[in-house]
Amino acid sequence: MEKEIVIVGMNHRSAPIDVRESVAFENAYVRDALARLSGYPVVLESVILSTCNRVEVVAAASDAQTACRDMKMFFDLQRAEHGASNLEDHLYTYQGTEAVRHLFRVAASLDSMVVGEPQILGQLKQFYDAARQAGTVGAILHRLFHRSFFVAKRVRTETGIASRAVSVSSVAVDLAKRIFDRFDDKSVMLIGAGKMGDLMARQLQRSGVKSLMVTNRTFERAVAVAGRMRGSPILFEDFPHYLKMADLVIGCTGSPEILVDAAAVEKVLRERKQQPMFFIDIGDRRNFDSAINDIDNAYIYNIDDLKEIAEENLQGRSDEAKKAEEIVAQEVENFGRWIGSLERMPTIAALRSHFDEIRRRELARSLSGNLKDLSAEQRKALDDMTAAIINKILHGPILHLKKNTAEGGEEETLYVAALKKIFGLEDK
């Protein structure tokens, strides 16, 4: 039986967030949803992918056209619970080679909102695992997903797409990582309560800094910000005394005056036995004396420096994305060859139908014999179960056979001949 890969779904470009949310699958319900998908006769294998930026169904189907229609219906049904409206405008469909390319691009984070962000691969693996556990992954999707993981890995190691920070705060964290070896023994001081400073402090907290001090001209605001971020508030007049405890100092006040000058930094560094300090000046005005840069063991970057680096990195990313697209194109071609080789394999089909025939025969005999009292539901369950058993039994051998065929090894003929002989496939 020939299988085609089909993808139906929506992402951050094709649908607004409320539409995406209305069809999103919560982790706990993915299994149910996969079971519903298996209910469509043409959908032979399926994986559901649902993140905040995309909801997609990847399937291997016996008939692509029907499958597309069925899967759109599946989305509509999912949506129905949240008040019906036509999803058609928001859904895209990919078939065959285009579907393979799409999945590879998703895995390699080329289709992400922030190109190169690394989370998508982990999410993909997680949803693939869920589908595998639900038993809706067969040889095709198995191969397709593992290939997509491989493509993602290739893109990550062979291009610099993921290694460049493109936001001001991640650039600052990158710089901090070049100064400090570890963050879990470092303290941050946040001066001022601007939005940028907030973001930066949060990013540093996520990177695992030990503690955070917050100071502001209005002490109440310092208390409020510190409360929100589990930091300690400090009186504005007192912050110079606490400076020696801070490894990273974020300046983010609108104040027109210099709050920390070079002489103060020199003094503080002496007090801290020259432990390095990193000043990040991201307010509207300069809060720190730029002469700090001339002091050993003190480093200072202002918002313009950071923006410039972020710009360069973004430029670099789009260059790297071109390289990544080339890798994807190569891999799509490779995958196409493998799919092609499948069609040239009557042995597998024969093997499957041989086992399936046995299954049906025995099932029919039992259902008309001592199991004749079973309800329609139970009969269906039995049918599913036996089919699953056959699939599981054949999974390994068929995978092996396909692998050998794809590689075109000498073993191939040997295995095929052996199988034919053992199961008497030639008689049919």
Partner: protein
């Protein structure tokens, strides 16, 4: 000295150098290859040394090229230890060309071996030169680590070479490694000098003589001692410490390379 084995090692060190340079300049190269090539060279180097010691016994390091061979071997060994512990592949880009030049020079000087003077046929000789060389090798690596520190520091201060410097560990890690090397190197150097003065007592009749070689060692020892003291008590670190570490090594290596021709010493292990 089996010159062929040593030459083969030199070839591998050259290949490793090229591989390290590619590693530093290109983003998309594997990080294991250069170290593995260096390790292959190290095995050949080990074989060359082992064969030599087997032939000559413990008096095997009396000549300049023998000293070079042994010293470069120690440097590679130490680098490999650091690489395993800290994954400091960039350091290899400095170590590989240096040991290549050292082994090349050693093999160019040929296979002549010298005899130890009769009064020095004692096991203290190998103990002495092993300790002293080990101290030297540690300081050589501290020199390289300091150099890398200065590169990273400069990049941060001048906002340059961002992509290249990503491969370099943080300033904090480099500074700590530099300190640890000093902590290891200084006692080794001290022991080297102590065993040396013990030998001097046997051979020259006095623990200390005002020989140029001994004076230069004494100066280097005082210098490193002061540096270590400054690091421990006075918060000396970072760029200044890196510069001083590099300067200290220049004192050590300077005499080893050029000082002898200006101020001849009676100490052995050189061109005789």
């Amino acid at each position: 000295m089996d010159v062929n084995l040593l030459r083969a090692a030199a070839v591998f060190y050259l290949l490793a150098t090229a591989s390290f340079v590619f590693y530093v300049l290109l983003r998309n190269t594997a990080s294991r290859a250069p170290t593995l090539i260096l390790f292959a060279g190290f095995m050949l180097h080990t074989a060359a040394l082992a064969a030599h010691f087997f032939q000559e016994g413990y008096s095997a390091v009396t000549q300049f090229q023998e000293a070079l061979t042994f010293k470069s071997w120690l440097i590679v060994a130490l680098y490999l230890v650091i690489q395993i512990k800290y994954r400091l592949t960039v350091l290899g880009a400095i170590v590989a060309p240096v040991v290549f030049l050292m082994t090349l020079a050693a093999s160019a000087f040929g296979s002549a071996t010298g005899e130890l003077p009769p009064g020095l046929k004692t096991y203290w000789v190998p103990v002495h030169f092993t300790l002293a060389f080990l101290g030297n090798a540690v300081f050589a690596l501290a020199f390289a680590v300091s150099l890398i520190y200065l590169l990273q520091e400069r990049g941060l201060k001048h906002r340059k070479m961002m992509a290249l410097l990503k491969r370099i560990p943080s300033l904090e890690a480099l500074d700590r490694l530099n300190y640890q090397l000093l902590v290891w190197g200084f006692p080794l150097m001290t022991l080297g000098i102590l065993t040396g003065s013990f030998l001097a007592r046997i051979y020259w009749g006095d623990y200390w003589t005002w020989d140029p070689r001994l004076i230069s060692s004494g100066i280097a020892w005082l210098f490193y001692g002061a540096l270590l003291h400054g690091r421990i008590t006075a918060g000396l670190r970072g760029k200044k410490a890196a510069l001083l570490t590099m300067f200290g090594f220049c004192v050590v290596i300077g005499y080893f390379l050029w000082g002898e021709t200006l101020f001849p010493s009676r100490h052995g292990g050189r061109f005789e």
